[in-house]
Assembly symmetry: C2
Homo-oligomer: 652 residues x 2
């Protein structure tokens, strides 16, 4: 047996042993895809001792349930994953969690597990590489690498993978190489039960080169295909690798080996048939020797690259900083923006985004075919395309889900700050990808416009009701709904600073500039935007977000006219407000004032904590209606008269 084959069989053995030790995991893909994984890591330009090397080839394993195989591979290729780590597979607090986590294991380029996401993330990596490569081409291409993604049948059945593939083909991302572990088995049985498509034709239709490896169990066949794929000049490549799920085991070829540990006998039989030791986690001497050699892989390339970077630092410090130490004086930029006239916060957002784009050359993004409505086009740039690699506007097409996942890939790559946009109601299409932004601490800027019932005529399918609160439920994610243009500035400031995804939620309709609104106060999440007339006798607090803040100020005026002492609090970001110390929170919402009314054109369920047992949450807990924006708002009670009435009842 040649040493490479023995390494592959050792990958299989180690993967299965992790699963046996954990009594949990997915043997099928680990045994079947081991030759693909070997060919991939063998071929890739990586440096196991410097797993975060900026110019490494990126490797995304979209079928994250192959995690045991990933860890075995990282171990044998000399990454910082030890045999003890493998023994801790899937255990609490281990370095080797059940699905690969980019934030946990160095060497893992992307957290995966939910199918299809990784494939779309890879398109984001490839865009980032391509853009930065173009940007640095005068400097020996500081960024110049391939993006590899391994995927399975499940990934390719997901709509998100189709969306992302169509994008990649249109953009001619020739340095994107997808390895498709095709074993004709899915969890519920034969793939033909649910899928019978001609994958080759499908990808060709999307502008890809497709290579076919009939026997991917022979790693050299995969290797040959990878070498060919690298030569593509104008198309991304899909390599269809025919493999056998559970190869080497008695259950090979059956869905029964997908997701459960084997019996001890099955393991012993497999090790024997593969010619590797069946002593758990014991690695044969020849493989250990191979490991010792391979662990130096890429060190010379990495050093050469470091020299290039040093040169760049000398020749163009600005560009160097842009990519490797991005710090931009956005405060100055933001302070220069002065808003005077009433305008929709989406229009304010347009101004802010464009000013920021001048200061932050790394800002790149776009919309799901709604840039004219979300107003997120960077005016002094152009569309990124197959013929214009330096455009900072990305036309994602009507593909919300992959748009968000591609943004995750761009953010993961590093060197760029991605933003994406569509209508708030369509955030539903992106939802799992937003979750992944949050799970990986990715500073993706989400811009959601058309933020309420006030959308009007487009009706119930276009009017967000539950989306705002629903986005707030995603952990590690800031949702900011500014009350006016001034607060919009503050929202973008947060978005540029936080190490997590930030959603900026903007109105379609015009909103007045409020007297005491403050960009700087947005960082506190909530603040008093209109003081009560008589601080000694604060009777009622109105708390609102977005377009409902100006409404509440009008309510306040009416109530004060009638002799009541009423405060208005603008609460653009609940998450940030609850992060403030209790003293601050109590200053804004004094405990003694229990008469509180929240006003937000969305579901009320999240407001109980703020208004308390004696308060009232005004919102809308049913779907919207088609009609003029203002009329729809009034129909659902968002007008001065109705709120004054509710307030007076509460004040009695």
């Amino acid at each position: 047996m040649e040493i490479e084959q023995k390494v592959i069989n050792t990958l299989r053995k180690l993967s299965l042993e992790q699963i046996m030790t954990a009594k949990s995991g997915h043997p099928g893909v680990a045994l079947g895809a081991a030759p693909i994984m070997f060919a991939l890591y063998n071929n890739a330009n990586i440096c196991p001792k410097k797993p975060d090397w900026f110019n490494r080839d990126r490797i995304i394993i979209s079928c994250g349930h192959a995690s045991s195989l990933i860890y075995s591979t990282l171990h044998l290729f000399g990454y910082n994953v030890s045999i003890d780590d493998l023994k801790q597979f899937r255990q609490l607090g281990s370095y080797t969690p059940g699905h690969p986590e980019e934030t946990v294991t160095s060497g893992v380029d992307c957290s995966t597990g939910a199918l299809g996401q990784g494939f779309a993330n890879a398109v984001g990596f490839a865009i980032a590489e391509n853009f930065l490569s173009e940007k640095t081409k005068k400097y020996q291409k500081i960024v110049d690498h391939y993006t590899f993604v391994m995927c399975g049948d499940g990934d390719l059945m997901e709509g998100i993978s189709y969306e992302a593939a169509a994008m990649a083909g249109n953009l001619k991302l020739n340095k994107l190489i997808a390895l498709y572990d095709s074993n004709d088995i899915s969890l519920d049985g034969k793939l033909s039960l649910s899928s019978n498509e001609d994958v080759q034709k499908r990808f060709e239709a999307c502008g890809w080169q497709v290579l076919f490896v009939k026997d991917a169990n022979q790693w050299k066949n995969v290797n040959k295909a990878i070498i060919k794929a690298k030569q593509s000049t104008d198309k991304p490549t899909l390599i269809i690798c025919k493999t056998v799920i559970g190869y080497g085991s008695k259950l090979a070829g059956s869905e029964k080996c997908h997701g459960k540990p084997f019996s001890d006998e099955d393991v012993a039989q497999m090790c024997a048939s593969l010619g590797v030791s069946d002593v758990p986690f014991k690695i044969d001497e020849d493989v250990l020797l191979w490991q010792k050699n391979v662990s130096n892989k890429g060190e010379i390339e990495e050093q050469k690259w470091q020299q290039k970077v040093e040169q760049l630092k000398e020749n163009n410090k600005e560009l160097y900083n842009e990519i490797f130490a991005p710090k931009f004086n956005i405060n100055k930029t933001l302070n220069e923006i002065k808003f005077k006239e009433a305008l929709a916060t989406r229009d304010a957002g347009k101004t802010v985004l464009n000013k920021l784009a001048n200061t932050v050359p790394n800002l790149i993004g776009g919309s799901a075919d709604l840039v004219g409505a979300t107003k997120t086009y960077i005016d002094n740039s152009s569309y990124y395309s197959a013929t214009n690699r330096i455009g900072r506007n990305i036309a994602f097409g009507v593909r919300e889900h992959s748009m968000a996942a591609i943004a995750n890939g761009i953010a993961l790559h590093k060197g760029l700050k991605p933003f994406v946009s569509t209508f708030l109601v369509f955030s539903d299409y992106c939802r799992y990808a937003i979750r992944m932004s949050a799970l990986m601490n990715l500073p993706v800027l989400y811009i959601w416009t058309h933020d309420s019932l006030a959308v009007g005529e487009d009706g119930a399918t276009h009017q967000p009701i539950e989306q705002l609160e629903s986005l707030r439920l995603i952990p590690n994610h800031c949702v900011i709904r500014p009350a006016d243009a001034e607060e919009t500035k503050g929202a973008y400031k947060i978005a540029m600073q936080e190490n997590c995804p930030v959603s900026v939620v903007l109105s379609r309709q015009t909103l007045p500039i409020l007297k005491s609104s403050s960009a700087n106060n947005v960082e506190y999440g909530g603040y008093v935007i209109s003081e009560e007339q008589n601080p000694k006798n604060l009777e009622l607090i109105l708390i609102a977000t977005g377009s409902e803040v100006s409404l509440c100020i009008n309510v306040q005026k009416e109530l004060e006219k009638q002799g009541h002492s009423v405060r208005v609090v603008s609460m653009p970001c609940k998450e940030l407000f609850f992060k403030q110390d209790k003293t601050y929170q109590n200053k804004v919402l004094p405990k003694k004032c229990v008469k509180r009314i929240s006003v937000e054109a969305g579901v009320t369920s999240g407001w109980a904590k703020i208004v308390g047992d004696n308060g009232v949450a005004i919102g809308v807990n049913q779907f919207g209606e088609s009609g003029k924006g203002q009329e729809v708002m009034e129909l659902f009670g968002f007008d001065v008269k109705n709120i004054v009435k509710i307030a007076k009842k509460l004040l009695k």
Copy 2:
């Protein structure tokens, strides 16, 4: 000009006039796609005077922004949409809302607006037709019709349309005909900006017949293609119709005519060039005459069909009832199920679903390639497939989003009750389609298993945190998380009764059968599952759902041992609890007992309303961890010791 052409031009004129009157709408598609729409309605087997005729061809306009064109078409074909209705286009409370709503306008088979949904819904309609057609084939095929769907570039860019197309091709749904309004323009400009794929090849790859109509502005070309498509015996058909966006107007061929009203001059120019009156809403005499004739369309077919139905009623009352008057004695079935031993609620669900399937022959559904894990296979049936049209198990593949949308289509068709399933965390992929179930009052049964951190080893990507509460935010949607097998029965009972989507949320791990758990009490949403020892001095109420109910009963035992009087409330469905009268609510959660603790392994934000200002919500507001289920639960504080500690602090 032949009369058909004049009718088409009148459709254009009426559509544009609606938009002009509303000062809002989408002229581009209405003008461009009018010939397609005409050919479609002209060809379809419909009965305008009986728009709900069960055996009509179904027509789904996936590009819902073509609403003005739909209403014009309904008007001219003699449906119950008047000129006055057209004048009220997009106005509050009108019969002609901004996007088509199935619940508002008779003649509209499906609410659409969010792109891609309608296309996937159509696949559901086609499955329902095909299944019922097979079922009634001994009775002159009581169900025997085509399903038409019109879609645009936006629909086809959405991943959901790819998923649904792959399903339809695999299932060989030959009576599904999609008309693709291909005008090479999307909202942001030329389609090639974001898409360059070979749509024909893509659909062929998915097993479709593709027909190409080079000049779809000539309705006869479209008509010819429809006739050909109807002859397909083994493939669904995509008809690519090349049209000109905004045809007839000065802005023809440009994205500028997509989404805004025209100037008055533009309208006059268009009417002149199309040879129709420019007096608003005036219809020329010859067209009125044509309208009078066409409005009788389908009456004879409908009457013939009624006779067939009468025969069925005589010959097979049971089958007749099944399809047209489905009422099944599920209470008897459910009462017969006795659970004795502890088991996972997903396993209890399996038993209940299977028993129900015996009583309810209309129950049909499946899973997104997780049927082995969600346990939702109907054992005494088989897989629905191209060769087995009577199987009640649908293998959706790893296609969650289209799965939910296809279920919507099945429910909309009527005659079948659909269920779908996957892991709770992946409900994120289905989210917009769930919203559409709710918006259209569709009784889709969603079965979500693996419902918490207790999933364990699969880690953060597989552990739902925010999903449970997030699903609750969708209006008109019941979310039920049963505490044990007994409550699981109750959950399914609700799911079979409600006229809205119901989500049943089930555990992966084993749960004890609780002493006082009650299937019947589930309908109250919440009830006292374990009374306090000393009712005169109720000190604390523990409120929980799902697996946390048994945990709370153990906490109660410990606290009562220490002399405290503690009640446990099981709250499987908050929505239903809040629908009960105040007396009942107060009986379960007496106002005077303000010391309350909620325990649920998910985000806490929705619990404030129930625990109140003096209560504590125990939950998890960050992402999960990979590890053994029990250990992960304990890490996040879901164990007796921790909750007792929190309770004692509260009791001080």
